[in-house]
Subunit: 691 residues, 2 copies
């Protein structure tokens, strides 16, 4: 794994770079050398790269942002400047603006509500937001909704610089001039090539003109280092920002607007670039039409050692192990497909275009998709379909944590107990299965689970040692990883063992290891959350209206400070949660029925039962998709429209409530209730088949 | 008030300075000019001033701390360097040490527990602590308990520097080289002159030798600016500090020990200095032996505009108003005593020595002591005896907030609603009286309430505009106050109205306005807190012991980081709370009985009832005092032994539980229970007299 990482991280390997293609070809050769059936699948996608980048302060003093990450002497790949992608945001539109600057904290919707209370508008302004709290692409989106002309996103040292730990190369965190590249494509609308929504970007695909692509930003946006941001922020006046907004720069953070005035000009080369997905197929011996799929991307923003190679080399190690096992006679019952995706960084391009291209086959054949996207030292993070929660717990019990020598499951349970508040410790001690998180977005599982309804898992170790500080910078490289992350690759081995074991068990199980009581237990929690959200919003609105009537704001705010009091809002109505309640009750009963039947299943009927189980995640989707974003079809999990990566569970209902669209909330409750009933029906059919 | 502040803040006026005496004499002349009976009372007290101050880093690089606050051009008094007291801590012992440096966060006991988990000892080290979280004198005390050789206390910009707001002179907060002087006398043991504990430091008092004074520090200690502290902190290595410990300097905060090694040498002039308390007496016309006392100190650390003159000029304004009223024929029924204390800053010297000198008279005659110690814009903060809670609510309803034009009571209620968590808003809307805080220490009420059992109140406006940033620095001066605080003195007028109204009402009431239902309601809350504290400690110990058995620590901590797991502790026993329960039940019944009788009181018997009411706070004291600190005699309120200023209510019980002295806790419960019963008996006698 160390050798593979050193080789693949030796040069920048972003989409369209020579070394991206070179890595793909090296992977194919390597895999073929192990006797595996590996090939490259190509897609042609829109991938803009910078042509012109200018950010300068023109008032009250002159300052031009460097927008360059310098060479670090001890780091041998940090000087490959001619091969590196510059600091930029992919899928920002071209644009130019000169306007007063406003600091908007993390630039999420709640921040704009606070700005409104301060009487500060960003209309006609350039906003500067900190990285963090939401996925970066949300920041220009929300800024544009509020009338901003352009957006800057910088890395505050509070979040991944010297506040956290020593900076590179003395420590793992982001140095003064380090910056975070990244995609700002509006992925909550649809990921993948902006020109081919819903279909594969094969060479002869029908493409939208760029002007009709909906996932480009509405305003120009660029990232910068805190070295570049500090002079801009220090030149702001206006209100001092709320305490929670303050970063770790040695300045007083003000909101503005101005007197700092910024001139920003961005132009991009709007080129079509070729993707190189590496696909390996091991045909199943008994159930060749049931596919277990595993993937990790191989493209990086620059040298990309931690992201993605620490995950990709573990995946490669799984392939090596499988080839060894096959030489010893192992034949998986199901077909195993391993993918090394290209183009994840700009917008999940390689996985999305592949999934869209093969959508019909995948909907018929895909059993599970297992993803990783990097790895580090520490604890196993697993998120995914809760029908696989029980299965993953079984895997975790059989893998050893390489440093504590406990099982990964035991270490996770004990660490959970250590961190949980008092009232949550009991469940960790008594529930047979540890809970896994739900999937939002941000990696290559998205098309599988959200678009196609393929039960998915995302796996990776982490939580110890640095990580955030070099994310998407030139310093995420072999030198950094072997000094500050999983330096001896023991967690690389653990990830290969974890994912490899999961793949083998899924490929070889007679009865697929889906379990539904954990799923129904989890969905019930989501429904309880929705009811509480509705009740809380009602109580908060009533309280706010009451406080407005009482004169609380005029009494509590400093009369010498500008303050725009909120206005009264209609009190949210009580929603009819009965369809969800009836749905979850039915699902819980059927889940229990199936799980009981599963204990004493004989093999006679297993093919028919497995077909139902494969169908179980598809049943959670609806072809019409989520309101306003039909590409997202899963009714239980989705990335939030205003979080980007962060999950919204039962998203149709939750986002309708959050955004105060009450009629839509009632409709979506009905729709999800129906889905739950249908899921229950499916489980009843499967249980009946087992009897 | 503006003129008085300008005059009194024109030069540094600390204890022993020419201008301290000059201000006292000016006050007497002014008061006499208004026809009032004003005089100076002198005390002679130990007051050390610096002779030698050296703090230098000797490894890994050389750096000598400036320990000087520079002149600020626009500020006309900031250049009076020859008159200013240098940056130092009064009552630090002389000493010299050269040792590795350790950063100890705020230097409170919990911080040393975290250091122990990191495997870091301060034994033989010099510690550097941030100002904040406890009174400064606690920091060298706790450091010495843990074996440190010397202590540095610095002002982190997170707490009162650029993190909070722009720094002086552009804004109100502490500039880079600004530092906080202050006393580090062990006041939780006893305040006042260290050489005359319990008796007045009159010129011929019997004095302890300095070597026997118990309230000097055990190790040398000095304050410094963040300008001076930054090179020291930046030179530390060792573990990165926990997130909650990090300040706002642009460095990664490490714990040490070293490699920074510091050499520190402090010597002081251990002189006796003269105090000038200004005492004004207005004899009572009907009840001359019942005294209403009001005070605010006049000495400052340097020019002291905000602290203490913003309060002192309001007090002076009250005197002017009273003299005008007296010219119009007003004669207060009770004797009114106004005090302008000297020597508050070094250790509540002027008020403590006066109270100790006149202890017998005060115990016989004192009705109430009303204190202030500065003033600003915003909300009325009132703390004090809860037998006066109802009375203060009445005063607050009759004073207008000068900026919002609401009554002070209404503004306070509405601001309380605004800030309260959802479950606390209801009480604010429905309880007839707003709650007042309990008194800890840190100002001149201490001897009155804690030592003598005189019902006390502490009043001051604040919460809007700067304040913390120039506290005890050369920049707390007329320029700063008139630019950043109550610039037009409207809150000065409000304080004079508030305290003046309270004094007049207390002086003129037939039946003294004590009320006991609010008091018993409050004491019941304290008792509930104690029961919860006991239960929580038991639950936490049980949980910790269980986690140690489970192996939680080894599983959750990064194996590459040094970590010393905690050891198992005996589970705290259940305490017998019955004496407190019986005491509070009796008190609540008697309070209700008295408060009901009070409604229909006739004047016939009022003198005898008032005697009981004056006795009511004395009954809460016990001549034997608190365990280990007999000077503190109040059984309901005291400053914490490890907080310094912060109050501990029912301190004998609470501190015994906190410090795991279970037998003592049971004894103290018994003792306080008895006090509550005695208080109930007194109220029954008063109620009977009213019938």
């Amino acid at each position: 794994m160390r050798d593979a990482m050193e080789r693949m991280a030796a040069h920048p390997h972003h989409v369209g770079s020579p070394y991206d293609k070179d890595n793909a070809e090296w992977l194919v050769a390597k895999l073929k050398g192990w006797g595996l059936d590996a090939k490259i699948e190509n897609f042609d996608v829109l991938f803009p790269t910078p042509n012109q980048r200018l950010v300068e302060m023109v008032e009250p003093t002159k300052f031009t942002a460097k927008l360059e990450e310098p060479t670090v002497g001890v780091d041998p790949t940090s000087n490959q400047h001619s091969e590196q992608l510059p600091v930029y945001h992919a899928y920002s539109i071209d644009g130019e603006a000169t306007a007063p600057l406003v600091f908007v904290n993390y630039g999420v919707p709640a921040d704009y509500e606070e700005l409104a209370r301060m009487g500060v508008s960003v209309s006609g302004a350039i906003v500067i937001a900190k990285y963090g709290a939401s996925w970066r692409g949300i920041k220009p989106k929300v800024a544009a909704e509020h009338g901003a002309l352009a957006c800057i996103v910088y890395s505050d040292p509070k979040d991944d610089g010297y506040f956290v730990n020593d900076v590179f190369p003395e420590g793992p965190e982001r140095p003064r001039d380090g910056a975070q590249r990244g995609s700002v494509m509006d992925m909550p609308l649809y990921p993948g090539d902006p020109l081919t929504p819903g279909v594969g970007a094969v060479p002869d695909a029908k493409r939208l003109p760029i002007s009709e692509a909906k996932t480009l930003t509405k305003i120009p946006v660029i990232p910068m280092s805190y070295g570049d941001a500090q002079p801009l922020l220090a030149a702001l006046k206006g209100p001092v920002v709320p305490e929670a907004w303050r970063g770790a720069l040695p300045i007083t953070y003000h909101v503005g607007p101005g007197p700092a005035k910024v001139h920003m000009k961005l132009k991009f080369n709007w080129d079509i670039k070729r993707l190189y997905d590496v696909i390996v197929r091991i045909p199943g011996s008994e159930y060749p039409d049931e596919w277990v799929i595993r993937g990790n991307h191989h493209d990086g923003w620059v040298n990309g050692a931690s992201d993605p190679l620490s995950g990709a080399v573990a995946e490669l190690e799984e392939m090596r192990a499988f080839s060894e096992l096959m030489k010893q006679g192992w034949k998986p019952k199901r077909t195993i497909i391993y993918a090394f995706w290209d183009g994840e960084e700009p917008g999940l391009l390689g996985s999305t275009e592949w999934a869209e291209t093969h959508a019909d086959d995948l909907q018929k054949h895909a059993v599970v998709y297992l993803n990783s996207d990097g790895n580090g030292r520490g604890f196993l993070n697993s998120q995914g379909s809760h029908t696989l929660e029980n299965f993953m717990n079984g895997v975790m019990k059989d893998i050893q944590d390489p440093e504590t020598k406990l099982s990964v499951w035991k270490r996770s349970q004990l660490a959970g107990i250590s961190r949980a508040p008092a009232d949550r410790k009991r469940e960790l001690r008594t529930r047979p299965d540890l809970r896994i998180g739900a999937l939002g977005s941000g990696s290559d599982y998205t098309a599988f689970i959200d678009h196609l309804g393929v039960a998915s898992l995302n796996l990776g170790y982490g939580g110890e040692g640095g990580g955030g500080g070099v994310y998407h910078s030139i310093y995420d490289d072999f030198y950094w990883y072997t000094h500050y992350a999983d330096t001896d690759f023991v967690y690389g081995r653990a990830l290969a063992q974890t994912a490899g074991t999961a793949v083998m068990r899924l490929a070889d199980a007679e009865l697929l290891p889906f379990q539904f009581s954990d799923f129904s237990d989890t969905v019930r929690i989501y429904i309880d959350e929705l009811k509480r959200l509705d009740a809380d919003q009602r109580a908060q609105t009533e309280e706010l209206n009451r406080e407005i009537d009482e004169g609380v704001f005029a009494a509590s705010v400093d009369p010498r400070k500008k303050f725009v009091p909120p206005s009264k809002n209609p009190v949210p109505p009580h929603l009819n949660f009965a369809p969800l309640e009836n749905g979850i009750d039915a699902l819980a009963r059927s889940a229990q029925r199936y799980d009981a039947a599963r204990q004493k299943a004989s093999a006679s009927n297993v093919r028919a039962v497995n077909a139902k189980l494969i169908e179980s995640e598809r049943r959670m989707t609806d072809a019409a998709g989520l309101p306003g974003r039909p590409w997202f079809r899963h009714m239980i999990y989705a990335p939030g429209f205003y979080t980007g990566y962060g999950v919204k569970t039962i998203p149709g209902v939750r986002e309708a409530i959050e955004q105060k669209r009450w009629q839509e909330a009632d409709q979506q409750i009905q729709r999800v209730g129906t889905i739950l009933i249908k899921e229950a029906d499916l489980l009843d059919e499967a249980a009946a088949l087992l009897k």
